[in-house]
C-alpha cells in the first residue's frame, strides 16, 4: 500500500518540473525578446520606428523605420495567399468530396509528406528557376521581386492549406450533406452552399495558419526578393521582409547596441503578429459546434 502511494506521488513529481520548465522556457523567450527589443524605444521614439519609411541601420545617423519592411512582408504574404488559397481550397474540395477513396488516401499521404520540405530547398528552387523565369517572362530588369517571393511562398504553404482545409471539409457531418442532396441539390451545389460554409471556420483557420507560416518565413524569401528596403510600388518591385532583415543583419549587431535592439524590436513585431494569428485560428477551430 505504501509503495503504491509513493509511485503515484512520484509520477506527478516527475512530470511537474518538465512541464514547468517548458512553460518557463516559453515565457523566458517571450520576456527575453521583449527585454532586448524595448530598449530601442528609449533610444528612438516609437513613432520613428513604426512610421518611418527609411531603414538604414548603419548610416550616420542611423534610421530604423519599419514601414518598408512591414509592407514587404505584407506584400509577399498577400501574394502567396492570393495564389495558394484558391488552389488550396479547390484542391481540398477535390480531395474531400470528389476523389475516390483510394486516390484520396494517396493524395493525402503525398500532401502530408510534401509539407515537410525544408524552406531552403524552396528558396534554392526559387533562386535557380523562378528568378530567371520571372525576369524573362515579364521583361524585368531583375527577377528578384515581391512576386517571385510570393510564388515561392505559395508553393511552400500550399500543402498546409490543402491538408487543413481538407480536414475541415471532411469533418462536416454527413447529415448536412445528405440533407442537401435529399432536397435535390447537386453535389457541387451542396459543396458550395452547405459544406463549405459549414467548414468555414476550419478553412479560415487553415488560411490563417498558412498566412502565419508565410509571414514568418525567412530563408526562402531571402533568396529571391532582392532585399531592397523600399516601399513596394508594384508586385515587380524588390522588397525586404522583416524576417530577412533580421537574418541578414543579426550577425553584426553587437550585444546591446541600438541596431541589436532594433532587430529584436522586429522580432517583437513578428512575435506579436504570430500570436494574434494563432489566437484567431484557435478561436475559430474551437468555434465548431458539432
Amino acid at each position: 500500500m505504501k509503495e503504491k502511494i509513493r509511485l503515484k506521488l512520484s509520477g506527478k513529481i516527475l512530470t511537474f518540473p518538465p512541464a514547468s520548465v517548458s512553460i518557463l522556457a516559453v515565457f523566458f523567450i517571450f520576456i527575453f525578446v521583449f527585454s532586448q527589443g524595448l530598449p530601442l524605444f528609449s533610444k528612438i521614439s516609437p513613432f520613428n520606428f513604426f512610421f518611418n519609411s527609411t531603414w538604414r541601420p548603419t548610416a550616420t545617423p542611423p534610421s530604423f523605420g519599419i514601414v518598408p519592411l512591414f509592407l514587404g512582408s505584407l506584400l509577399v504574404t498577400s501574394l502567396a495567399l492570393l495564389i495558394s488559397v484558391p488552389l488550396g481550397l479547390l484542391g481540398a474540395i477535390y480531395i474531400a468530396e470528389i476523389a475516390n477513396p483510394k486516390i484520396k488516401e494517396q493524395i493525402k499521404l503525398t500532401v502530408e509528406v510534401l509539407s515537410g520540405i525544408p524552406s531552403v530547398v524552396y528558396g534554392f528552387f526559387g533562386l535557380r528557376v523562378l528568378v530567371p523565369l520571372v525576369q524573362k517572362t515579364f521583361g524585368l530588369p531583375t527577377g528578384e521581386t515581391a512576386l517571385t517571393g510570393g510564388i515561392v511562398l505559395s508553393i511552400m504553404i500550399l500543402p498546409t492549406i490543402l491538408s487543413l482545409s481538407e480536414e475541415a471539409i471532411s469533418s462536416v457531418p454527413v447529415e448536412y450533406k445528405e440533407a442537401s442532396l435529399a432536397i435535390g441539390a447537386t453535389k457541387w451545389r451542396t459543396i458550395r452552399s452547405v459544406t463549405i460554409p459549414a467548414a468555414a471556420s476550419g478553412i479560415t483557420a487553415a488560411i490563417i495558419l498558412g498566412l502565419g507560416r508565410a509571414f514568418g518565413e525567412t530563408i526562402a524569401v531571402m533568396m529571391v526578393t532582392g532585399g531592397a528596403p523600399i516601399i513596394p510600388t508594384s508586385i515587380f518591385s524588390p522588397v525586404r521582409t522583416m524576417t530577412q532583415t533580421i537574418a541578414a543583419e543579426m550577425g553584426e549587431a553587437v550585444f546591446g547596441s541600438t541596431h541589436y535592439n532594433a532587430l529584436f524590436a522586429l522580432g517583437i513585431v513578428l512575435f506579436t503578429v504570430n500570436l494574434i494569428l494563432n489566437l484567431l485560428a484557435i478561436r475559430l477551430i474551437k468555434k465548431k459546434k458539432w
Binding site: 512553460i23 479547390l90 515537410g116 528558396g123 457541387w188
Partner: protein
C-alpha cells in the same frame, strides 16, 4: 432549365477542383523532379562519405550530413523527454480546468509558429553571447529544441488524449497505480502518435536554416566536431551558402543539387515515416 444550369455548374466546379489539385501537385512535383534530375548524378558513396575539398568545388558533404544528424539527435534528446513529460502532466495529472493547464496551453500555442528566425535571434543573443556558449553544437541544438518543443507537446497531448478513458479505468480497476497505468497502458497506446510528433519535430529540426544560422553552423571546418562546444556543418546551411555565395556557380552546381537532394531525401524520409505511422495508427485503432 435550372437543372441544366446546376449540372453545368457542377461540371465546371469539379473540373476546377481537379485542375487545382493537379496544378498544386505538379508544381511541387516539378520542383522535386528538377532537383532529383540535376542532383542524382553526383550522389555516390564518395559524395556521402567524404568531406569537401578544393574550396568546395569537389569532394563530398559527409561532415554536413553528420552535423545535421548530431543537431537533430541532441535537439530531440532535449525536447522529447521535456515535451512528453509536460504532456503527461497536462493530460494525466492536472485537472482540465486548472490555471496551470491553461497557462501551458497558452504558452505552447503562442510559441507554435513563431518565425524560426526569431528563435535564431534569441539563440544567438542568449546561448551564444549571453551564456557564452559561442557558435556551437550546443547553442544550435538548444535553439532547435526550443523550436520543436511546442510541436512535441501538442502532438503528445493529442496522442495521450486520444487514449480512451476506459483503458485507464480498466487498469486502475485491476489495482494498478496511476503511475503504472500511465507507463504500462496509456503510453504504449499513445506511442504511435507520440512518435509521429517526434518525427515531425526531427524533420523540422533537420531542415531549418534560420535557427542555426548564427548559433552553430559553419560553412567549412576540418574534421568533425570533437565536443559540443565546436561548431558544426549542416545540410540546410551548406545548401544555403553554396547556393548564394559561391562565386563560381558552374563548378559547384552539381554539388548544390546533390546537397539539396540529400537534404530532401533525408527530410522526406522522416516525413514519410511519420505519415505512414499516423495512417497505420488511425486505421488500426480499435476504439
Amino acid at each position: 432549365m435550372k437543372m441544366v444550369k446546376a449540372k453545368t455548374c457542377e461540371r465546371l466546379g469539379f473540373w476546377a477542383a481537379r485542375v487545382a489539385i493537379l496544378i498544386s501537385l505538379s508544381i511541387t512535383g516539378y520542383m522535386l523532379f528538377y532537383i532529383i534530375s540535376k542532383g542524382a548524378s553526383i550522389i555516390s558513396w564518395d559524395f556521402l562519405t567524404k568531406p569537401p575539398t578544393s574550396g568546395m568545388t569537389a569532394g563530398g558533404i559527409f561532415p554536413a550530413i553528420v552535423g545535421t544528424l548530431l543537431l537533430v539527435t541532441l535537439a530531440i534528446v532535449i525536447s522529447l523527454p521535456l515535451g512528453l513529460a509536460s504532456a503527461i502532466y497536462l493530460v494525466e495529472y492536472s485537472s482540465k480546468e486548472s490555471r496551470f493547464v491553461r497557462l501551458v496551453e497558452l504558452a505552447v500555442y503562442s510559441l507554435n509558429g513563431v518565425p524560426s528566425i526569431v528563435f535564431g535571434l534569441f539563440g544567438m543573443a542568449f546561448f551564444v553571447k549571453f551564456l557564452g556558449f559561442g557558435t556551437s553544437l550546443l547553442s544550435a541544438s538548444l535553439t532547435l529544441s526550443l523550436m520543436i518543443l511546442p510541436t512535441i507537446v501538442a502532438t503528445s497531448v493529442e496522442a495521450l488524449k486520444s487514449v480512451p478513458d476506459h483503458f485507464r479505468e480498466a487498469s486502475l480497476a485491476l489495482g494498478a497505480t496511476k503511475g503504472q497505468t500511465i507507463v504500462r497502458v496509456v503510453l504504449p497506446a499513445a506511442f504511435p502518435g507520440i512518435i509521429t510528433g517526434a518525427m515531425l519535430g526531427v524533420g523540422r529540426a533537420a531542415g531549418e536554416t534560420a535557427p542555426i544560422l548564427f548559433t552553430g553552423a559553419v560553412f567549412y571546418m576540418r574534421g568533425l566536431p570533437t565536443s559540443i562546444f565546436d561548431p558544426v556543418m549542416a545540410l540546410p546551411f551548406h545548401l544555403f551558402v553554396l547556393a548564394t555565395e559561391h562565386p563560381n556557380i558552374s563548378k559547384v552546381e552539381p554539388i548544390q543539387y546533390g546537397t539539396a537532394l540529400v537534404l530532401l531525401i533525408l527530410v522526406l524520409l522522416i516525413s514519410l515515416i511519420a505519415a505512414v505511422i499516423r495512417y497505420r495508427y488511425r486505421r488500426k485503432r480499435k476504439w
